[in-house]
Amino acid sequence: MKRNTKYHGEIEISESDIWHFENGIPGFPDEKAFVLLPILDNGVYMVLQSVMTPYVAFVITSPFLFFSDYEFNIDDATLEQLSIEKEEDVLVYAILTVRDPFANTTANLQAPLILNQKNHQAKQLILNDPKYKTRHPLFANKSGKVKG
């Protein structure tokens, strides 16, 4: 199927590309289908694009690239909900709030995206760890060493 996107123009999406967020995500309860699209070609940043709504798209990254001690447990309810069997099947992304200049961009570490590669079920998990907030400066620790 052909779909318009926020940053990638019109693209062709096949069913197997789609990640299913059964309950949407907070603030976007009706957005249940997304695709992952690359930005640039180094794989650091990606866009989580709604299949249904062109203007709903999030810039995301692997939080572990920028926050080396980031860790959390996925609760049993989520494991069950997404039918997660093995850790290796799980992809984790953080949603970025992009700012101008890009050096001021923040990452939401309190609510990571959890994707099960086995069945393409996914959700945004809300953590209860007080260490993690919604706005961690992406380049606070590394003075921009990790570059996209």
């Binding site: 603030g27 999030f58 949603i95 992009v98 919604t134 570059k147």
Partner: protein
């Protein structure tokens, strides 16, 4: 909104499978125990609102996203 009075240790049943128990009361703070099926997500309201707000901010249109990234990479 339905308002019920409960004492410590008393519960409220919602539907067939959600039970809310007043676990402890101390001053103006109440500890609440919630038994619900796993597919029901339970969050502190202010935390949920904060995630909603940040998602909404993150979904704002970014003018010249590629340009911003390239400019950053070039530094």
């Amino acid at each position: 909104m339905l308002i019920l009075s409960r004492r410590k240790g008393e519960s409220i049943q919602i539907g067939d499978d959600i039970e809310i128990t007043i676990a402890a009361i101390q001053g103006d703070q109440v500890k609440i125990g919630i038994d619900a099926p796993k597919h029901i997500e339970i969050h502190r309201k202010e935390v949920y609102l904060e995630i909603q707000r940040e998602n909404t901010a993150a979904a704002q249109g970014i003018q010249g996203l590629l340009g911003l990234l390239k400019e950053h990479n070039g530094k």
